[in-house]
């Protein structure tokens, strides 16, 4: 069965430090991977998707099919990056449903 694992519930770093939020997935097919973010008192929103190969707010994520990982990285964390981050995958068969990980809370301290 498809599954998304985010091993860290909380990641605490200082401003300016590098950040890596881990995400591993299990899916036998070819998934699409996403990172969603939820800032305090805001709704859940898409941060980036792997097929776009984009950098959003300084964040990047590379799909590693060999390691079945899609880790989110930023070289220099900012206080405004503090939020809840969810990794998600979508199966490209049948109805397109998102499968979410348990989320990682990123706390960036000054």
């Amino acid at each position: 069965a498809q599954r998304v694992t985010q091993p860290e519930k909380l990641l605490s770093v200082f401003k300016g430090a590098p950040v890596e939020l881990k995400c591993n997935y299990s899916y036998s097919g070819s998934p699409e991977l996403f990172w969603y973010v939820q800032y305090s008192r805001q709704r859940l929103q898409l941060l980036l998707r792997h097929i776009s190969r984009e950098s959003i707010k300084g964040f990047t994520a590379d799909l590693n099919k060999g390691e079945t990982s899609f880790h989110l990285k930023k070289p220099f964390a900012q206080e405004e990056d503090s939020a809840m981050y969810y990794c998600a995958l979508i199966m490209n068969t049948g109805f397109q449903k998102l499968v979410f990980g348990t989320g990682t809370r990123l706390l960036v301290s000054p």
């Binding site: 519930k9 699409e32 709704r43 859940l44 929103q45 898409l46 998707r49 097929i51 776009s52 969810y86 979508i90 109805f95 397109q96 449903k97 998102l98 499968v99 979410f100 990980g101 348990t102 989320g103 809370r105």
Partner: protein, 114 residues
């Protein structure tokens, strides 16, 4: 403005009451979803819809029911609320136009059943 609306945002209700959580979208999307999310936990899909008159149960079993009579409206109903239904409920819709998939989420309804 294209958006997803959920009402009420907060609801505290007694056991046994019937409740309906409203979700409307002006995004023009065909697919809509309901998720349940407990604090600090992952989102669980409880219902989804391909379009009008189409509803399906999601991955997490739920005692709630949904209807989709209009494209923009996807209400969720609990016939008899219980404390175990206390949770946050998120509504979402999706679009695959242009080949890029994205789900858009509403602000959520936080339900507390006493």
């Amino acid at each position: 403005e294209a958006d997803i609306y959920q009402t009420p945002r907060y609801l505290v209700i007694g056991t046994g009451k019937k409740i309906t959580l409203e979700c409307s979208q002006t995004m023009g999307h065909d697919k809509m979803y309901w998720y349940q999310q407990d604090p600090g936990m992952e989102l669980h899909l409880i219902h989804y819809s391909y379009g009008v008159n189409s509803t399906e149960k999601g991955d997490l079993s739920s005692e709630s029911t949904v209807s989709r009579i209009r494209t923009e409206h996807f209400p969720l109903t609990l016939e008899s609320a219980r404390p175990s239904h206390t949770s946050q409920y998120l509504c979402a819709s999706s679009d695959t136009s242009g080949g890029l998939y994205e789900q858009f989420f509403g602000p959520g309804t936080r339900l507390t059943v006493l």
